[in-house]
């Protein structure tokens, strides 16, 4: 491979990455926890970082929502919401509705969701509650009322609980995120759950097992995969590469890169 060939290949990848028009559901502000080499993403650098990775819009989360408190993360998102670049929204952190949490955040009886909110993430393992219907049922019903998707890292819930939740609330869109450890070792449960429950979708930042993209597209359809980068912990080029070179139709690549999540957030009632 001469230098010229390397350039041609690289240019071709670049062109295909741009064409994906990526909308990223996993962009994080604040200081990452548990990743010694990861640095904080500064809000003022967000647009530049996104454009370096061909990302044209997305959903922003805040590490403080996990590490300190749901309220601290939500407050930061609320303060910055007016300054979000175009095509950017927030994923707020949720807690069980009883005993009633203080705001800001999804709080029962406090009116409609914040205008920037396009999803809610819960951290049951880190925040010390079980993600079962008797504990988070009212939160789930609230999400369904506004058509808001629920985001959850696979490391924050066990598979039997996730299965029960998906079965109990079939109209709740649940986006299973592949962080913060390998989803690879859980693929048998994940794929079975996807087959059983059509409301289970998967975020792709760590969905890099051999042939996984083709497998899901063939078995369940491309609309079940949602592009996520987990930046600035993970390299957005990893999920991008999995799509660029996937042996699937172009329309399915576009669904994974942006189409599916855009449809979901368009249907949020605010």
């Amino acid at each position: 491979m001469c230098e010229q060939r390397a350039r041609k290949l690289s240019d071709d990848y670049r062109e295909r990455a741009v064409q994906l028009n990526i909308f990223d559901c996993s962009i994080w502000l604040g200081s990452p926890e548990g990743f010694p080499l990861a640095r904080e993403m500064l809000f003022k650098k967000l647009e530049k970082e996104m454009s370096d990775f061909f990302i044209t819009g997305g959903l922003i989360s805040h590490w403080l929502g996990k590490t300190l408190s749901a309220q601290a993360g939500n407050r930061d998102l609320e303060e910055k919401a007016g300054m979000f670049p175009e095509n950017m929204y927030g994923i707020w952190t949720g807690l069980p509705f009883y005993p009633s949490p203080s705001g800001p955040g999804p709080v029962p009886g406090k009116g409609r969701p914040h205008r920037s909110m396009r999803g809610v993430r819960i951290f049951p393992a880190s925040h010390n509650y079980v993600p079962e219907e008797w504990v988070i049922g009212t939160l789930c019903e609230w999400l369904i009322r506004y058509n808001l998707p629920l985001f959850i890292w696979h490391t924050e819930i066990n598979w039997p609980s996730l299965h029960r939740l998906a079965v109990c609330y079939p109209s709740l869109t649940i986006i299973v995120e592949t962080q913060t450890k390998k989803i690879l070792y859980h693929a048998r449960m994940l794929f079975t759950l996807m087959r059983e429950c059509s409301n289970i979708l998967v975020e792709t930042s760590n969905f890099s097992g051999q042939g996984y993209i083709e497998y899901v597209v063939k078995e369940f359809g491309a609309e079940r995969l949602i592009f996520g980068s987990f930046m600035p912990v993970n390299d957005p080029l990893v999920p991008t590469g999995m799509i660029i070179d996937a042996d699937i139709e172009e329309k399915d690549k576009l669904l994974i890169a942006s189409g599916s999540i855009k449809r979901i957030i368009e249907e949020v009632h605010l």
Partner: protein
């Protein structure tokens, strides 16, 4: 598309029941290599990881033939079965497609600086072979990773200066990376590959900014991971195209002396 000439310098073959892989076999690999313009690969099999060089290595000899000379292979030195491994490796060094040696101190439970590794380093030195080793950072959920932190290899790197050592996975997702960078900058005979899920933000530019592009090899860790995950990182990270060519091909040719 131009003639496929990329080299995947770190992969494996066949199912491993710890995880589900739809298509882990040689025919699937070759199809994927064609799709991704990958001409050659350097493979270690799962069986050899458990038993050391023996039956698994003989299977890889057939893999090389079946692949039409595209999939080269390494002999695994298991320090718990040193004598048997060395016996097979001594035979295999003459087989077509044999490209070097592999060690995995974390998997085999014996620290990389232990005296029991001396025979494999000595053999590599006498036969002008490369050694690929697992390397990682101290991990709070996998204590065995401390057996493979990059600094633990230094006594042998220093003793056998003509042995090309590839520290796999760029030292993992933690401080092992800094040790890899130090060793590569200090010793001419040390290299790294980017195989595995070291999906750290801006990793490739951090490596190309701290070490020579002559020292970095593209690898996937198929079938644990899909080659597409790491390939796009090399294709899309800003670097000059001569560096890209080195990472995707030239360095593997030089280190493993293959694919001519």
């Amino acid at each position: 598309m131009s003639t496929p000439r990329i080299i995947d310098a770190h992969l494996h073959l066949d199912p491993n029941s710890k995880f589900y892989t739809p298509e882990p076999q040689l025919k699937h690999l070759l199809k994927l290599m064609d799709r991704l313009s990958i001409r050659h690969a350097v493979c270690t099999d799962h069986l050899s990881m458990y038993e050391g060089a023996g039956e698994g290595l003989r299977n890889l000899k057939s893999v090389y033939e079946e692949s039409g000379g595209r999939v080269y292979y390494l002999g695994v030195y298991h320090p718990g079965r040193a004598a048997a491994c060395m016996k097979t490796i001594e035979e295999a060094v003459l087989w077509p497609g044999f490209a070097g040696l592999k060690i995995h101190p974390s998997f085999h439970g014996i620290s990389a600086d232990a005296p029991v590794y001396d025979p494999v380093w000595k053999f590599a030195s006498e036969h002008d072979l490369a050694i690929l080793t697992h390397s990682w950072s101290v991990s709070d959920y996998n204590p065995a990773q401390t057996l493979s932190t990059p600094g633990k290899f230094e006594r042998y790197i220093d003793k056998y200066r003509n042995v090309r050592l590839v520290l796999a996975h760029a030292g993992g997702r933690g401080n092992g990376r800094h040790e890899v960078i130090r060793l590569i900058n200090q010793y001419e005979n040390v290299y790294t590959d980017i195989a595995g899920d070291i999906f750290c933000y801006r990793l490739i530019e951090s490596l190309t900014g701290s070490i020579s592009p002559d020292k970095i090899l593209f690898g996937s860790d198929f079938p644990w991971l899909d080659p597409r995950a790491n390939l796009a990182r090399v294709m899309l990270t800003d670097m000059d195209n001569s560096s890209r060519e080195k990472i995707l091909r030239e360095n593997a040719l030089k280190v493993y002396k293959i694919g001519k």
